[in-house]
Amino acid sequence: MSRYEKAAAGAVALMLVAGAAIFLYAPTDALQGNVQRIFYLHVSAAIAAYGSFAVVLVGGLIYLRNGSLVADRFARAGALVGLVFTTVTLVMGMLWAKPIWGTYWTWDARLTSTLVLWIIYAGYLLVRRLAEPGRQAARFAAVVGIFGFIDVPIVHFSVTWWQTVHPGPIIVNDALPPEMLATFFLTMACTLVLAAVLVVIRYRIETIADGAEQAMAQRVQLVGSREPEAEPVN
């Protein structure tokens, strides 16, 4: 088993522990019932997404400063992982909203800004695919990643800046009983570990892909340089 497989297995095991805490340890909410258990993973995934997008931001800034390929690969990895966690956040939120609000979606400030966040980083990945691979793609994506991060504080503070139906910051407001708080922090820690492991694995994949692309380019160059010799001289 490679290092990466071990890390992945560890992260999955941690998520199972978190799942056990969510379903077996945390008490059932008096008002919302079992649906409230969605909260633990929903909020943790959102925080993991913020963290991943912060990796994109920092990676982009470093890349623009000194052209570091390592920073660019981390940015790529962070964008993909962040997008996955934003998707999880959105889907879990919708599943919670249907029984509680009576609808999957409402154009609330937090929901809308989260959807925009998803669109921005999906765009980031599309830029990577559509721009010329190498310097151009990396530079353009870095700019998108830096601009896109503006939406993260907007998402985060949307519940305090605008009137929304989305529940406010209940954790910092000390509104949870201790068992729920413990479950939440455990789930958040496990989710952050999972996100970190995913970023590292994705970083490894990007490194291999870059290496393959470089080897390919070298071969093309070699073939290209050999051609004139092969031509018959009349």
């Binding site: 669109i119 721009a131 010329e132 530079r139 700019v143 998108v144 830096i146 601009f147 896109g148 503006i150």
Partner: protein
């Protein structure tokens, strides 16, 4: 500093003169926004009762898509003639060149708004007040800065028609949120006009600073 300013003005004048000689973009945009109003009429069954609540939405939809076309065209001529490389080879700073292109594209979009706003008043019966014009112009500044940055970025990318809306629209949403509120209030909805305008100014400053910092990395490529 004064030199950069002169470069920006010169680039903007060049673009505006090219547009004046060909008269392509502004008439096309004007026709585009009029068509958008016609489509809105059939889509919504506009009458005197529902017009004030629908008009702001139609205004922003038409403006956003006209803007995408305008900024997409901002670098089209340079690309077709491969003259952007020549421009960048001059000692002028890329940021100044970018500012000039952005200024010209903004003025062309304002030219399109000169058609859109009176047409909205004519067809939808909504008031054409200083408040409405001010909100639209304030939003235009920030939208133009962002739109031009991404237009410059995608100018040399294969699928630029796909990428420009994809990158620009999500980042324009702050302007639509604040500008939309300002125009709704100016057209009779309840809410705070001043607060929306203050938010627009904040976003303008934020994105002007950010785009001027980022322009170097986008044009240098």
């Amino acid at each position: 500093m004064t030199n950069s300013f002169a470069v920006a003005i010169a680039v903007a004048r060049k673009d505006l003169r090219a547009e004046w000689r060909t008269r392509e973009l502004v008439p096309a945009l004007a026709q585009f926004v009029i068509l958008a109003l016609v489509i809105a009429n059939f889509g919504f069954q506009i009458d005197a009762r529902n017009a004030p609540s629908i008009a702001p939405g139609v205004l922003w939809l038409a403006l956003v898509f006209a803007g995408l076309v305008a900024f997409g065209r901002a670098f089209a001529a340079e690309r077709e003639q491969a003259s952007l490389e020549a421009l960048l080879m001059t000692p002028a700073s890329p940021v100044a060149i970018f500012a000039g292109k952005a200024l010209a594209a903004t003025l062309l979009l304002v030219g399109c708004e000169v058609v859109l706003l009176p047409a909205l008043t004519l067809f939808f019966g909504t008031p054409l007040t200083v408040q409405v014009v001010a909100a639209v112009l304030l939003a235009t500044i920030g939208m133009a800065a962002l739109g031009c940055l991404f237009a410059a970025m995608v100018a040399r990318v294969r699928a630029r028609e796909l990428l420009l809306p994809l990158l620009t629209l999500p980042l324009w949403i702050p302007f639509i949120v604040a500008g939309g509120q300002a125009v709704q209030v100016a057209m009779g909805a309840s809410g705070s006009y001043d607060q929306a305008m203050a938010l627009l100014v904040d976003f303008d400053i934020l994105f002007l600073v950010l785009t001027s910092l980022a322009a170097r990395f986008v044009l240098d490529e």
